[in-house]
Symmetry: C2
Subunit: 326 residues, 2 copies
């Protein structure tokens, strides 16, 4: 009898949990409805649009989609932080004006140096060390350093509604992937902690790397030089290379996500493409067409044509940050 009673209690509890709102930080509205309807359909064995668990692939951009990206990408702030630490040990590494400006945190001079300057700062800080060492530095930065404007730890600047969405999708049998222009090792240092996404489900831009044996100890070293840019047309290519399947759901926030959204939503059967629209100048930042990071222009124009759903950060999200107090 004891067994029977505990079974009944467990069933009742599980029914309660099933009816709890899986997306508490999402306000009622078109975005939330689109998510719930899509998931209900593709997980319903009786639906013509049912998708088996092994094909429930969902891909998410990172910068501006899962965490903030203003005033510049967190990875660039990390590179400057690393450069400052390295220059403390050996000032001679600041061998030209670009690196000197970066170490001073002179963002204006750095911006003026263009893409070439940025790549120089990335190159100086992202090579000549092992992947493991690099991940340790990145993780330390993201979990102990504060954002220059928001006075929050970087790790706390992930979006609570997106974390709820990731969790909800996994509970419904989805595999959740990050597909970002950000550096793959930089993201992998923190994705398990930040999003419960393991390293093997993180796709990003990468530099060259080599396997070498120093003494008895093999090591994978980060080398100078870009190997792969996981942005724009690179996103579907990166998805195919890592996953080998086409996603059925994709979320991005900028024109860099255009092709990922297009590739995802042009497949057969029911698909969902969504765009995080940064509309909240008070709690986060408001930007789209004219922003120097996360430019959202063509993807916003073509969203109606493809049926992509714009997430209005200000109206759709009752809470923004995973950390901090609102």
């Amino acid at each position: 009898m004891r067994l029977l009673i505990s079974t009944v209690i467990a069933a009742a509890l599980s029914a309660t949990l099933a009816f709890a709102d899986p997306l508490p930080s999402w306000e009622p509205g078109a975005s939330k409805t689109a998510i719930l309807d899509f998931v209900a359909t593709v997980t319903d064995p009786a639906s013509d649009d049912f998708v088996p668990v092994e094909d429930r692939i969902a891909t998410f951009d990172n910068d501006g989609t899962l965490w903030a990206e203003q005033p510049v990408y967190f990875q660039l702030l990390f590179a400057i932080n690393r450069l400052q630490a390295m220059a403390k040990d050996d000032p001679s590494i600041l061998k030209d004006d670009v690196l000197t400006a970066a170490a001073k945190g002179d963002m204006k001079a750095l911006a003026a140096s263009g893409e070439k300057g940025l790549l120089e700062v990335i190159g100086a800080t992202h090579s000549g060390l092992s992947v493991d060492e690099f991940k340790t530095y990145a993780r330390e930065f993201l979990t102990t350093q504060k954002h220059p404007e928001k006075d929050m730890l970087y790790i706390d600047m992930t979006y609570q509604p997106m974390i709820e969405l990731l969790t909800y999708l996994r509970d419904q049998g989805f595999s959740t992937y990050i597909v970002s222009g950000g550096g793959i090792d930089f993201m992998r240092s923190i994705t398990q902690t930040a999003y419960n996404i393991p390293t093997q489900q993180v796709i990003g831009s990468s530099s060259k790397s080599t396997y070498t044996v120093a003494g008895d100890k093999p090591v994978i070293m980060k080398e100078p030089g870009i190997l792969f840019i996981d942005d724009k047309t690179g996103k579907p290519v990166g998805i195919e290379s890592h996953i080998g399947k086409r996603p059925i759901l994709a979320v991005g926030n900028s024109d860099g996500d255009y092709q990922m959204l297009q590739w995802t939503t042009s497949g057969d059967g029911k698909r969902l493409g969504m765009i995080v629209h940064h509309t909240d100048a008070a709690r986060e930042w408001a930007y789209d067409r004219d922003s120097h990071v996360g430019t959202l222009n063509k993807a916003m124009d073509d969203a109606p044509k493809f049926g992509w759903v714009l997430i209005d950060m200000k109206d759709d999200w009752s809470r923004i940050w995973s950390g901090g107090n609102e």
Copy 2:
């Protein structure tokens, strides 16, 4: 009461299954013991060498480790088959002696053309079509064509003991990956069917690919030119790129697996490296140091130093093929 009885029956059944031999095609001996001991240790929460589920990464070479590789790699036999089909439609594609020899199945002339000739045959048959089309051709070849010497379908020439090992490891919470010099798309056409390994757990050599939109229809095209060779030092690099974690178990069969085995077994804690030694001339093939495919030389010499376990195909496996009747 009915509930209680069915619970007791279910418990009894599950206990029986737990005691069934998970590796029935493995003869008792050092190889089988090494596997069972390793798995028992790393899955025992009370052990100092316990490994949590998310870090139970096992990597397997494919050619010569999970399926046969004689007299030449199956992928080369597929390329010749494709070339013949293509030449039937348009004989002008056989534009030089190498391609003409390949289309005739003249392996001697093809071998004489060296690596350059082989790459030409691969290039002619592995580019200029979409990844999806290519996978369809590869899958059809592997499931309908017979091996030139063994009179078996290629799909039946996977090794039954290895399939049991893969299943056993997954039942024990491992993630099983293929890490092979073979082409990633070629393998992905069949790995779910052949090994229950999904495309996202297949790492291989790759050619360049592009994302293009033809009319309204986006497509990922295979282009000429090698992007990545997943062999020798490329194996640890490919593992890091795709998984971002170091395996705790690796199985290979040739010197091409040396660095994967070294990378795996030099990590902290308990590790297992194994080498399939082709010793069975009657049921399969017997070869090692002098073979033109699957050369096993330095890895065999260094196996004792690293503690790598040699699997003696003839003595350790009671059954070889997953398909066919023995």
